[in-house]
């Protein structure tokens, strides 16, 4: 483990804690910027998807991982953002404006969905958000004058002050910029008083209140930020797919997003992106693996669901810290080699305590 000798409070406040960080993340950024010239179109498109899901995952991570509020209908915000963008793009609005409106509208819906959060906790909140998810999905389908209903809606290309972004590379660039800005914004938020207030609400509401944190205000804020990010992701999603329909924003999509944050690693920004990578690459891996399996397994329509279920169960049972947690362990092993001790990340055995008395 790298032992950082701290001489300045800034080292705790900065985003990059030490030189190594700057180096590796700089390398990552350089690679991402150069990607359109380095890798082929298909993988570029996959990376675009990873970034889109990463942004949405960031939102859900802030809400669920950092504030402890579980939203089981998050696809609704994705849908609101996607349709807002689609409608405004059809009207010819410039992209930055339509993106802001999509984010704003999703945030407003987020505030409404967050209202139950002010009164109920835990599973009740989960069910409330689940219900909202269904209602929004149905609403999108019924409001066919605007959304085209169940028949779906075509999405025009991005209108970025005349710049051509209809190509794979152009769109990738737009997504990259949006993703980097969103990630920076979230990281900034998490290292300032607002982010700390979210964590306080997650861990102990009563003492958060006694520290002066206005629960209703911050819970609503968390919902709004989370929904806005999902809206931004949704807007990009609409342009990527070029055709959207209400059934793309159903309960299965919401569960996919939850899978993203849990498998990625709850409570970390990295987790959102690790989860996005998982979500995009898993189907590819399954397709690749299909040829090696006997026909009745390989060709079954339920194979993807089965694999997702097994992976989810495996992660919850064996790696609750998710992919990011596993990466931390591997990295520590490499840094400490050969002195890595097996029990380093072992959690204390905890017994179940009643959630009703929290």
């Amino acid at each position: 483990m790298r032992f950082i000798f701290k001489t300045d409070y800034d080292q705790d406040i900065r985003i990059f804690k030490h030189g190594g960080h700057v180096f590796w993340y700089g390398l990552l950024l350089a690679f991402l910027v150069a990607a359109p010239w380095l890798i082929e179109d298909y993988w570029l498109a996959q990376m675009t998807f990873v970034m889109i899901y990463g942004v949405v995952g960031l939102g859900l991570m802030v809400l669920a991982g950092y504030t402890g509020l579980f939203s089981m209908g998050h696809a609704a915000f994705l849908g609101v953002g996607a349709y807002t963008e689609a409608v405004l793009a059809a009207k010819g609005w410039p992209f930055p404006v339509s993106l802001a409106v999509a984010a704003g509208l999703s945030a407003a819906v987020g505030a409404v969905v967050g209202l139950p959060a002010l009164r109920v906790k835990g599973i009740y909140l989960g069910i409330a958000t689940l219900s909202f998810g269904f209602i929004v999905e149905e609403g999108l389908a019924r409001w066919d004058s605007v959304t085209g209903g169940n028949a779906g809606m075509h999405v025009k290309a991005i209108n970025l002050f005349g710049l051509d972004t209809s190509s794979n590379e152009g769109f990738y660039g737009v997504c990259l910029v949006v993703t980097v800005l969103s990630t920076l914004a979230v990281i900034n938020l998490l290292r300032s008083p607002t982010g700390r207030a979210f964590v306080a609400i997650r861990d102990s509401e009563i003492s958060a209140q006694s520290m002066g944190i206005h629960l209703a205000r911050f819970k609503t804020l968390s919902f709004m930020i989370s929904a806005a990010l999902a809206g931004v992701g949704g807007a990009l999603y609409a342009h990527k797919l070029q055709f959207i329909s209400p059934d793309q924003f159903n309960i299965l999509q919401s569960v996919d997003l939850l899978l993203l944050v849990v498998i990625g690693g709850l409570g970390s920004v990295h987790g959102a992106f690790f989860g996005a990578i998982f979500l995009i690459t898993m189907p590819q891996l399954i397709s690749l693996g299909k040829d090696f399996l006997p026909a009745f397994i390989g060709q079954a329509p339920g194979l993807q669901g089965l694999v997702y279920g097994l992976v989810l169960i495996a992660f919850v049972m064996f790696e609750p810290m998710g992919l990011y947690g596993r990466w931390l362990k591997i990295r520590t092993w490499i840094q400490l080699f050969p002195f890595y001790r097996k029990g380093m990340f072992k959690r204390q055995k905890s017994f179940q305590k009643s959630d009703r008395l929290k």
Binding site: R119, V262, G309
Partner: protein, 291 residues
Amino acid sequence: MQELQVIFSGIAQGCIYGLIALGFVLIYKATETVSFAQGELMMLGAFCGLACVSGLGLPYGLAIPAAMLAMAALGWLTERVVIRPVLGQPAFSIVMLTIGIGYVARGLITMIPDIGTETLAFPAPYKDTVFTLGGVVLGATQVVVVLATAALSLMLFLVFRYSRVGIAMQAASQNQLAAYYMGIPVKRLNGLVWALAAAVAAVAGLLLAPITFVHANMGFIGLKAFPAAVVGGFGSLPGAIVGGVIIGVVEALSGFWLPEGFKDIAAYIVVLLMLVLKPNGLFGEKLRKKV
């Protein structure tokens, strides 16, 4: 007159919701975990019953307990292998785990050659019988659902209220460590609870099968059972059934009176109203941490 018809089928549908909700209220009461796998367990129960009747050729009267026992064993096994190692983790993780179990169940069923992807009829002996009561036509399938639900809920209510096992389950759900210290065999109880919940889900599946036919996506009905549990109050067994019936009736009437699309979301509007007006449900307990 048609209203009565609609209401009655709403009640029957609501009983199914109630039975599924009963399953996870059982698990919640005992272990405070919420299981999203109950819908899929119901689906498995239906397939199991079908296998007993069509595959093994058992008479209907034997197939029912056989399926229930098989599912109880599966429930116990699930708890032992998958749930027990993760107790103590935050509630959300366990919920995700049960969602994973549901995915696995659905995936496995669709893999069964020839049967998994089909919609199959369930040969219940009373399938085609109809009663006519004062102009209202009641399918025997629906009547059986209501009666069976009533019988089952009464039985479970008595178990929880008056038996040592029931009280032990409640203790384990409130403070597991203290329950251990009191000599309560928490692990054995948990296994028992999951077995029981799976058996209840199996009953729901067997009752639903003649009405909706048996197919891999049957489990999605389980999602409507959550509003049922919330309306009734999450820690309450009779509440689960009452909540289910309320949801079922509201849904049926919405389909009858309101424009298209409201039927699908009626249950969710009801639950949101409930959370606003009476968050603890009709029979729920109001608890507050003492600091």
